[in-house]
């Protein structure tokens, strides 16, 4: 009989009755063949692999992370409450020591959902990892968290949410933004002025294969994580780097994903993208689960796997090595860059247009951060979309200093203009969320 080396929790929620639209990649059928493979392999019978029923997240859980416009229920479906709930269930099981590792094999995904949510972008409405992390911070008093996003697309939503948080290390490995949605995630995107260096992007060239991914994990990601010393490592485990994925251009494999998992040793993995539903997902998920449980995965191979035919070119290898050096250098220089910025100005502003491809809407944002030397700084976001809503959102971070907290409340209370439909306040020091309707 098989015994897992690490007690591993699984939430499997394939949402067999939910789709973005009937022929959308994010449809009912997506995890059907993964279910078949997982059932046929008898994974849930293995001693030390435990399947959990997902909890639902609460509206408060969502409001701890997002500003939903006009409100939470309008941007979420039932399935989002469950998929985020599945991640939360795994997080709780881990910190209650029911399991040593866990994998939330859930859909829909979340890593393109940013702090302000007007609708769906990149198939995501709410950020299920961030909702889990902030719940764990609130409930179990976790401080330092590392997120390694191995989805083929840049995890721009997670990046946005943790852009100003020096206690969350976010590293994204993805296909170069010049060749793939969402078009961001370059090495110079390193976080806001008070959190420089805890956002790191490693864009990889198309046709990156096992060699390139594993090189990056071993030589760039792991040394940085060791340096950062997180309490929990989370893997946003997108599976669309697979050579058979229909919407990307990479050459990764089930063996590669399993090996990556063994190297990274995430405490929690959360499924993100991956749309080769027959040729990749059944095998990649099997490989990841076995690797998490510390079991042998050497025989997990997709039917048309031929390592020789997907071996990466020397040029690709060289490119990856150079990118890695830039990232490592940025990480090492982060304190120096930060000290230069901190003295420069009191407020920092970023203006952005954010495109929601799934719902086809455009959001315009002006974000103002107080560049504080005592905490990561209070921030406000003036956000409007071409759907018509305009809101002002104030975020007071968890470890905000007294001044920042006061400023946050002042921003919230003094805003009375009917330019805004709503003013929101997210006070993480008190775990509070307030709404003011102005129109």
């Amino acid at each position: 009989m098989l015994h897992a080396k690490y007690k591993t929790g699984l939430v499997f929620f394939p949402a067999f009755d939910w789709a973005i639209s009937p022929t959308h990649p994010e449809r009912e059928e997506r995890l059907l063949y993964t279910q078949d493979q997982v059932f046929e392999e008898g994974l849930f019978d293995i001693d030390g692999i435990i399947e959990f029923k997902p909890d639902l997240v609460t509206i408060e859980d969502v409001q701890r992370v997002h500003f939903c416009v006009p409100d939470v229920c309008n941007v979420m479906t039932e399935s989002h409450f469950i998929s985020a709930g599945g991640a939360k269930t795994i997080g709780m099981a881990l910190l209650d020591r029911k399991i040593e590792r866990g994998f939330a094999l859930v859909r829909p995904p979340g890593h393109h959902a940013m702090r302000v949510v007007h609708g769906a972008r990149g198939f995501c409405n709410i950020n299920i990892e961030a909702i889990m992390i902030e719940f764990l911070r609130q409930t179990y008093n976790i401080k330092k968290v590392a997120i390694v996003d191995t989805d083929c697309h840049h995890g721009d939503g997670t990046q946005d949410i943790y852009w100003h948080d020096p206690n969350t290390l976010f590293i994204s490995l993805h296909q170069d933004g010049r060749t793939l949605y969402p078009g961001s995630g370059f090495t110079n995107e390193m976080g806001g002025p008070t959190a420089i260096g805890t956002t790191l992007n490693i864009p990889l060239p198309p046709q990156t294969s096992e060699e390139g991914f594993l090189y990056t994990i071993e030589n760039i990601v792991l040394p940085i994580i060791n340096d950062f010393k997180p309490e929990i490592i989370i893997n946003s485990a997108g599976q669309d780097n697979h050579f058979s994925d229909p919407i990307t251009n990479m050459n990764f494999s089930a063996q590669g994903y399993a090996h990556l998992t063994r190297l990274l040793k995430p405490d929690i993995a959360v499924l993100e993208g991956g749309y080769s539903i027959e040729g990749a997902l059944p095998y990649v998920n099997l490989g990841i689960i076995l690797a998490m449980a510390g079991l042998d995965y050497s025989r997990v191979k997709e039917p048309n796997y031929d390592p020789a035919s997907i071996r990466q070119k020397t040029k690709v290898t060289e490119w990856i090595k150079q990118t890695g050096e830039v990232v490592l250098n940025n990480w090492q220089q982060k304190e120096k860059i930060k000290s230069e910025i901190l003295n420069a100005k009191e407020f920092d502003e970023r203006k952005r247009n954010i495109y929601y491809d799934t719902d086809n809407l455009i959001e315009t944002q002006i974000e103002t951060l107080r560049v504080c030397s005592d905490c990561s700084g209070v921030l406000k976001i003036d956000s409007s979309s071409d759907r018509g809503f305009r809101i002002l959102a104030v975020h007071i971070p968890r470890k905000a200093c007294k001044d920042c907290k006061e400023i946050g409340y002042r921003w919230y209370e003094s805003e009375k203009s009917d330019r805004y439909d709503f003013v929101f306040l997210q006070d993480r020091t008190e775990d509070q969320y307030r709404v003011k309707k102005l129109k």
């Binding site: 067999f16 059928e29 392999e41 008898g42 019978d45 959990f52 997902p54 027959e278 042998d296 039917p303």
Partner: protein, 569 residues
């Protein structure tokens, strides 16, 4: 008239039922080394003075196959296992003659790698040299496409007495369980066959030429003839017999918790409107997980004869049984002795009970009355806690659709039915300690045999359609047909019902008792590129476990005359 016989650990219960009700019941001691004599003497005694032609049905529930597996007393089996990619099949090794082989089928039933004929021939040679007669063949995903199992079987057939194929035992996906279940079927086949052929011959000699039905772990029956290919389905039928015996007294509008309190263990199950809850995967026997359909039951080591002792200043009950209660000459005090000491039970040696309990009382520094109450209380509380645990486990089982998660059915029984030896003594106290509305199953002493007698034939059909590839199949039923793109879920359900009806009748069901239902129906649009290319449909249907209609009056009769029965059994 019908006969029900249920072999237990200490004795076999036998009942004779007629249209007018329970005509006769007896108990004969079980000889675990000679179950044949036990069964036969039970059948002989119950039919004494009864004209053979008046008997229309015999249902047997025995521990034959369970004992064989637990004691590993069965003949050697050869296993040929083809896995394709995934977990190394070596880890599922069942026995010494276990051979992983090449060949591979994927989740949609497509052949990825052919079998190697020469390799199978070589394995067959090894098995023959080892003197093996029975072989199990299991391929991964054979329930989606049985061709490779059939090809291997073709090569083997001439050389072996019987070959068992994995796809024929269940339509469920689970390769390791398919291996274990096929192995058990092959392993107990000779014992099962020999035993029931001998029973049949003996009965025929007495002029009893009725079909013999055998009780399964899912609370249903099958005829001896159809059991030949699936003897493993008879393991652990004992708990099912008790549950079936309580059905007639359960509410048909409410959920009930059934407790069978025996000497060694208490078995629990759930009835939902008189239909027992099934375990979705299959029975577990010791460390072996199988695909054998069974009721959802939970067994704990607390019964009337559980050993009572003090450990580190704390009172402990069970899980071991050292013998009878002291009141009946046993070696150590038990909950039954506590009942004697409290004066609740009589007709035993109360003096011996008191003597045993006094030593426990002294250790705890309390009096006899307190210690007796404490023991009884603890036994009841442990049973209730385990029952709640089982209900919680059932309700925490994962579901895979938004609808089920939101509207999902949760089990919350308010009624409790108690049966087994000490049932009436426990019932009152269980009610006092809980919110359950507790009643004792009438005829509680032989309800298990009544349950066996009245259980209907059950079975299950799993159907899989893939309209992109253009077929519908139920390999377990040897059924495959070409279909068009417009084959719908409704067509699939109709087909499943048709196959289910055929199967049930063939396994001994009456047309009157075909209460069929769909357990699962899923349909997925298959999209390749941006176009819908077909449908992937999965349907599972079953004949619900329940009682045969013809003898409804028996249940009514037992129920109405319950006072007399309770007093007399």
């Amino acid at each position: 008239m019908i006969i029900g016989l249920d072999v237990g650990g200490t004795h076999a219960d036998v009942v004779l039922l007629g249209n007018e009700g329970l005509i006769k019941y007896i108990k004969v001691p079980t000889d675990p080394t000679d179950l044949f004599t036990t069964v036969l003497s039970g059948l002989e005694k119950i039919t004494e003075g009864v004209k053979p032609e008046r008997i229309s049905r015999i249902v047997l529930s025995t521990t034959l196959t369970t004992n064989a597996i637990v004691q590993k007393k069965y003949s050697p089996v050869g296993m040929i296992v083809s896995s394709g990619p995934g977990i190394d099949p070596e880890v599922f090794c069942t026995n010494s003659h276990y051979y992983p082989a090449s060949g591979s089928i994927d989740h949609r039933g497509r052949e990825i790698e052919p079998i190697d004929q020469n390799q199978i021939k070589a394995i067959a040679e090894h098995l023959k040299e080892a003197g093996i007669q029975h072989v199990g063949v299991v391929c991964k995903f054979s329930v989606r496409n049985p061709d490779q199992e059939l090809q291997i079987s073709e090569i083997l057939n001439k050389s072996f007495e019987k070959v068992f194929l994995g796809h024929q035992i269940s339509g469920n996906l689970n390769f390791p369980r398919r291996i274990a279940t096929t192995y058990f079927n092959a392993a107990v086949y000779p014992i099962h066959r020999k035993f029931f052929e001998a029973v049949r011959k003996s009965l025929e000699k007495k002029g009893l030429k009725v079909p013999i039905h055998i009780l399964k772990a899912d609370g249903g029956t099958m005829t001896f003839e159809s059991s030949i290919d699936f003897p493993g389905q008879t393991i652990l039928s004992g708990p099912a017999a008790s549950v079936m015996g309580s059905i007639a007294f359960a509410s048909d509008e409410e959920e009930s918790l059934v407790l069978d309190i025996g000497g060694t263990t208490t078995d629990m199950a759930i009835l939902i409107n008189r239909v027992p809850l099934l375990n979705p995967m299959g029975i577990q026997l010791g460390p072996y997980k199988t695909l054998i359909r069974s009721l959802e039951t939970h067994s704990i080591g607390i019964g009337g004869d559980s050993a009572v002792r003090v450990e580190n200043g704390k009172l402990k009950i069970g899980p071991e049984r050292k013998g009878h209660a002291m009141a009946y000459g046993g070696p150590v005090p038990t909950p039954t002795d506590a009942l004697f000491a409290m004066g609740i039970m009589q007709e035993g040696d109360r003096e011996r009970s008191v003597k045993g309990l006094n030593s426990i009382a002294a250790e705890l520094g309390i009096g006899l009355r307190d210690v007796s109450a404490k023991i009884f209380n603890l036994a009841c509380r442990k049973i209730l806690a385990e029952a709640q645990g089982m209900i919680n486990r059932i309700n925490s089982k994962p579901v895979y659709t938004v609808h089920e998660l939101q509207e999902g059915y949760t089990v919350c029984p308010k009624k409790m039915l108690v049966l087994g030896g000490p049932a009436p003594y426990f019932a009152k106290h269980l009610e006092k300690l809980s919110d359950f509305d507790v009643s004792v199953v009438p005829g509680w002493g032989v309800a298990n045999a009544i349950g066996a007698a009245l259980a209907r034939t059950t079975c299950e059909v799993t159907l899989f359609a893939d309209t992109e590839r253009g077929f519908v199949t139920a390999p377990e039923e040897k059924f495959t047909e070409r279909v068009n793109k417009d084959f719908s879920k409704k067509d699939a359900v109709d087909k499943a019902y048709e196959l289910l009806k055929q199967k049930a009748l063939q396994r001994g069901a009456n047309l009157d008792d075909l209460e069929m239902e769909v357990l699962e129906e899923l349909q997925f649009n298959m999209v390749r590129g941006f176009y819908t290319t077909g449908r992937n449909i999965r349907v599972k249907a079953q004949v619900k476990p329940g009682l045969i209609h013809k003898f409804n009056s028996v249940a009514d009769w037992i129920s109405s005359d319950s006072g007399r029965l309770c007093n007399s059994l």
